[in-house]
């Protein structure tokens, strides 16, 4: 049943998402040409008319706004899908489906995480396209490829078991952070739906900003106070010992983040299961 839920969730979100993704790719092509104009102007080899420069600047501003709008739109689509599917009239149908509550929530989480990864991939593609077009004469040359291969070879030589562990831990942390951020927003939307019948979305946004301010404050306090002791203790260890303890510390942070994500998942599950009243 989870597969069916995912199918409908992805269908609802990607229906508009792919249009925005294609638009952002096309905009990145335009952006690449704009950057080429700026390059030609700064090098001074070609005399570019001022009109062209002004047009390029205006177009580039639109390109940046367009790409930011694409990222924003993909986030909005995810949250609108969650809200409509659970808290609007559609919610009556959703909660009468023969599926577990956890499957409903998991489907939303998987959909949002995958859409997030796809959005990030399109964004990276946009940057690559812009750079490829604007630095066309420098990138597609033998010497550039040789430099890239040299850098890759040097990086591979420096890779040891600890680097691989750090990368895996960083990826795990990133995934947990993405899931946590969506669960956090879902919890705010659910809580807003619990406490108010009207203007649920505005209330949800208000709760989100309030709660994330408190969270940011906590993170700031942690950054100020949480690292001095560890840093000076690690500095006294031999080099191999330092690498091992950094790997263990990162693992601790991964488990801590997973615990927080699990707590907020439990909260969201409980709110959907026990406290939601769509009447």
């Amino acid at each position: 049943m989870l597969r069916e839920l995912l199918k409908y969730d992805f269908r609802a979100v990607l229906k508009y998402w792919w249009l925005a993704a294609v638009s952002s790719v096309l905009l990145s092509v335009v952006g690449g040409f704009c950057i080429s104009v700026f390059r030609q102007t700064s090098i001074g080899e070609v005399n570019v008319p001022e009109v062209i420069i002004v047009c390029a600047v205006l177009l580039f501003v639109l390109v940046v706004i367009g790409i930011c709008a694409f990222i924003l739109l993909s986030e909005i689509l995810i949250f609108v899908r969650f809200y409509k599917n659970f808290f609007s009239d559609e919610g009556y149908l959703t909660f009468t489906l023969p599926v577990k509550q956890s499957q409903l929530l998991n489907s939303k989480l998987i959909m949002s995480s995958v859409t997030n990864i796809l959005t990030l991939s399109v964004f990276v593609l946009d940057i690559i396209i812009m750079l490829a077009i604007s630095f066309f004469d420098e990138i597609f040359t033998k010497s550039f490829f040789k430099q890239v291969m040299t850098v890759i070879r040097e990086l591979i030589e420096q890779v040891d078991i600890y680097v691989i562990i750090y990368i895996l831990e960083a990826l795990a942390l990133l995934l947990i952070a993405v899931i946590f951020s969506y669960l956090f927003m879902y919890a705010c939307i659910t809580f807003a739906s619990m406490i108010t019948k009207k203007a649920k979305l505005i209330t949800a946004i208000g709760i989100y900003y309030g709660a994330s301010s408190v969270l940011s404050f906590g993170i700031m306090i942690f950054n100020i106070f949480g690292t001095s002791s560890i840093e000076s203790s690690i500095a006294l260890l031999p080099e191999n010992g330092q690498k091992m303890i950094v790997a263990v510390i990162l693992l601790g942070i991964v488990f801590f983040a997973a615990m927080l994500a699990a707590l907020i998942y439990a909260l969201e599950y409980w709110m959907l299961d026990r406290k939601l009243n769509l009447a």
Binding site: S229, I230, M259
Partner: protein
């Protein structure tokens, strides 16, 4: 669909307004508002150069090029003076920019040439030549210890008073996480100086790391991480100087809410913080959800079990870290 579009447009507008507001407040104001923002070269005449760029003229002041990296100046300011180039120089130069110390003792020039290369030249006002040679040659009797933070705070001392009991400092990379202050030889008006060493406050004692004693180039900053070997230093024993240093440190800490910069205090606070966040919190979560899972029904039982297992894993990793660091 209409609601989505309306919400989308609202968010774009809010986002743009926020960006504009942030950019407007962040953009530095380049308009001339006050003379305090500019260096005073003693004359508003245009700057001119010799053909080889080794000499700079401004009114009655003559500046000669010198090795600017041998000295340090605290701040550089933009200059109000115009620049006049000869016809030959105009053919070569594409762009140039200048900054100077507040009283115009040093001018930093950056030239960009039409042929594509650039050049940075430091010029010293000829009136400061004698003092410059004296601070390089260590001919002044007094050094100054720099305790400046938000305001100027120096301790002037006879350089011999710094050389108390000769000692060797080991684990220098750990020691220099404590407070260290530059010991400088500055010109009379304080516009530039040469750093001769560092004063280290460690474990209730003050040590003077003399650069010349350790073969470190003067005016270099001594980066502890680059030095694993023991360092020769002097433990300061002069009582009058120790009192002056203690008074200056009080002012230094007082300006910056002192205890935040006391390394021992920060270490203890951060250790307590880590125990609470990575120790007490997972322990509390573990106990709570263990009890809840024993009493819960099927769906919640699995969820609570997952949570207390993750909390237990976090607790065991934290305990491992603590044991590794203690050992």
């Amino acid at each position: 669909m209409k609601k989505i579009i309306a919400l989308f447009i609202t968010l774009i507008l809010l986002f743009s307004l926020t960006c504009l507001t942030v950019c407007a407040t962040e953009t530095p104001n380049y308009a001339i508002t006050s003379d305090e923002e500019y260096a005073d070269l003693g004359s508003l005449d245009d700057i001119t150069f010799a053909n080889d760029y080794k000499t700079l003229y401004c009114g009655e002041n003559i500046y000669y090029s010198f090795q600017g990296e041998t000295v340090t100046a605290n701040s550089y300011y933009e200059i109000k003076n115009g620049v006049f180039y000869s016809p030959e120089q105009k053919e070569d130069i594409w762009d140039s920019s200048f900054t100077a110390t507040k009283n115009g003792s040093i001018i930093e020039a950056h030239f960009e040439f039409k042929e594509g290369y650039s050049m940075d030249i430091s010029y010293l006002n000829d009136k400061y030549r004698e003092e410059y040679n004296k601070i390089l040659g260590d001919e002044f009797e007094n050094y100054a210890i720099d305790f400046s933070s938000s305001s100027e705070n120096f301790v002037e001392t006879d350089k011999e008073k710094l050389k108390g009991e000769k000692t060797t400092l080991k684990n220098i990379n750990e020691l220099l996480y404590n407070n260290d202050y530059a010991v400088i030889n500055k010109v009379t008006d304080g516009s530039f100086y040469v750093a001769k060493g560092q004063l280290l406050d460690y474990d209730g004692e003050y040590y003077y790391i003399d650069y010349s004693l350790n073969g470190i180039p003067q005016n270099d900053y001594f980066y502890a991480a680059d030095h694993n070997k023991p360092i020769l230093a002097y433990r300061i024993t002069d009582l009058e100087l120790l009192q002056q240093i203690s008074d200056a440190e009080e002012i230094y800490f007082g300006e910056d809410f002192g205890f935040f910069f006391d390394e021992e205090f920060t270490k203890k606070v951060s250790a307590v913080f880590l125990i609470i966040v990575f120790g007490m919190l997972p322990l509390g979560v573990f106990i709570l959800f263990l009890i809840l899972s024993l009493r819960a029904k099927r769906a919640y039982k699995k969820l609570f079990t997952t949570i207390y297992i993750i909390a237990a894993a976090e607790l065991s990793v934290f305990t491992t870290i603590a044991l590794m660091l203690i050992k």
